[in-house]
């Protein structure tokens, strides 16, 4: 039987931990950042600046913890956990700023290509945070309820019911 193809993530992480440093890190950064950025952009509701903050902080934290990663999920999933946490922290900071009356206008992301997708993106951005995250994780990113439960620190059943309510809230927003 042929050997399985080498995992480029594992290879880059091993080189990073072995002391290659920046080249190995950049390889990981280039491979995963576009997906992490798009994910963060949706979670924070479309603010480019907030998504950039979340992704930057996620990389800083992940680089500090790479030695602890045990490969019991894909590296992408692990990195998305950091990105999700950082994006939620950004949202909380934004809410505090708004409460303090110091909210700054967030830079809007450049619009996607088709009208229907624009409608869905806008509808997602209008959902409450918990509902938005449930739909993004499950229906956009394809995480299972078990994975969502681990990421958010909730029970699988809670994830299911939250998704159900989120979908019910989202559907009217998709209808003109």
């Amino acid at each position: 039987m042929a050997d399985p193809p080498p995992d480029p993530d594992r290879d880059a992480v091993e080189r990073y931990l072995a002391g290659e440093g920046e080249p190995a890190f950049l390889e990981l950064y280039e491979r995963h950042t576009p997906a992490l950025f798009q994910f963060a952009l949706r979670v924070v509701g479309g603010s480019t600046a907030d998504a950039e903050d979340a992704v930057q902080e996620a990389w800083l934290r992940a680089s500090r913890r790479l030695e602890e990663f045990r490969w019991d999920s894909t590296l992408r999933t692990w990195l998305m956990g950091f990105t999700l946490n950082c994006a939620r922290e950004v949202l909380r900071r934004r809410q505090r700023r708004r409460r303090d009356g110091k909210a700054a206008a967030a830079g809007a992301a450049s619009p996607p290509t088709t009208l229907a997708v624009v409608d869905l993106e806008r509808a997602l951005a209008r959902l409450p945070e918990d509902f938005r995250i449930a739909v993004i994780l499950h229906d956009v990113e394809g995480f299972t309820h078990a994975e969502i439960g681990r990421l958010l620190g909730i029970e699988e059943g809670t994830s299911r019911s939250r998704l159900h309510r989120a979908r019910r809230a989202l559907r009217p927003l998709l209808r003109p």
């Binding site: 072995a18 002391g19 440093g21 950042t33 997906a35 952009l41 229907a116 869905l120 956009v140």
Partner: protein
Amino acid sequence: MKRNDRFEWTEEERRLFEALPRERDPGPALRRQVLDALRRRGRPHRSRKRWRRPLLGAAAAIVVFAAGVAVGLSLDPGPGARPLAETDSLGDPVRIQHLGTAYATAIASVAARDGEEIPPEARKVALNTLRGAAEQLASLPGHEPEVRGLLLSIRDLSGGDVDDSATLERWF
């Protein structure tokens, strides 16, 4: 990741979700910001555990080597060692050994610190100092193989930061 529980969406809604972009390039500015932030924190850096063990080993080798030289001086200072003994104001091999031990241990400790605790420049200086100590020992005759091994291990630790290939060629 596995898709399930999609039954609530209509075909049209499902197609909408499928059509959502999964990636977006944030541009080079974020890349610069992330790298700058990492560098300010002393990363991307070598693994702390992988650094510490061989560095402390190198320091221990220097200490053992220095101890051997000191004991040798106290017993029978040879022609190669005499200039060192004559110019050293302490004139006490035991004190030389103690000072050398403290010096090498302190330098190795600095060099083995994680990037967050100490600037990378300081670690580089510490590594160069260790290398300098090894080179000083190399000037004493009769110990070339040991010192060569020591210099090679310091070169491995320093990666591209310290270029001592010329030194190795000069000495050996």
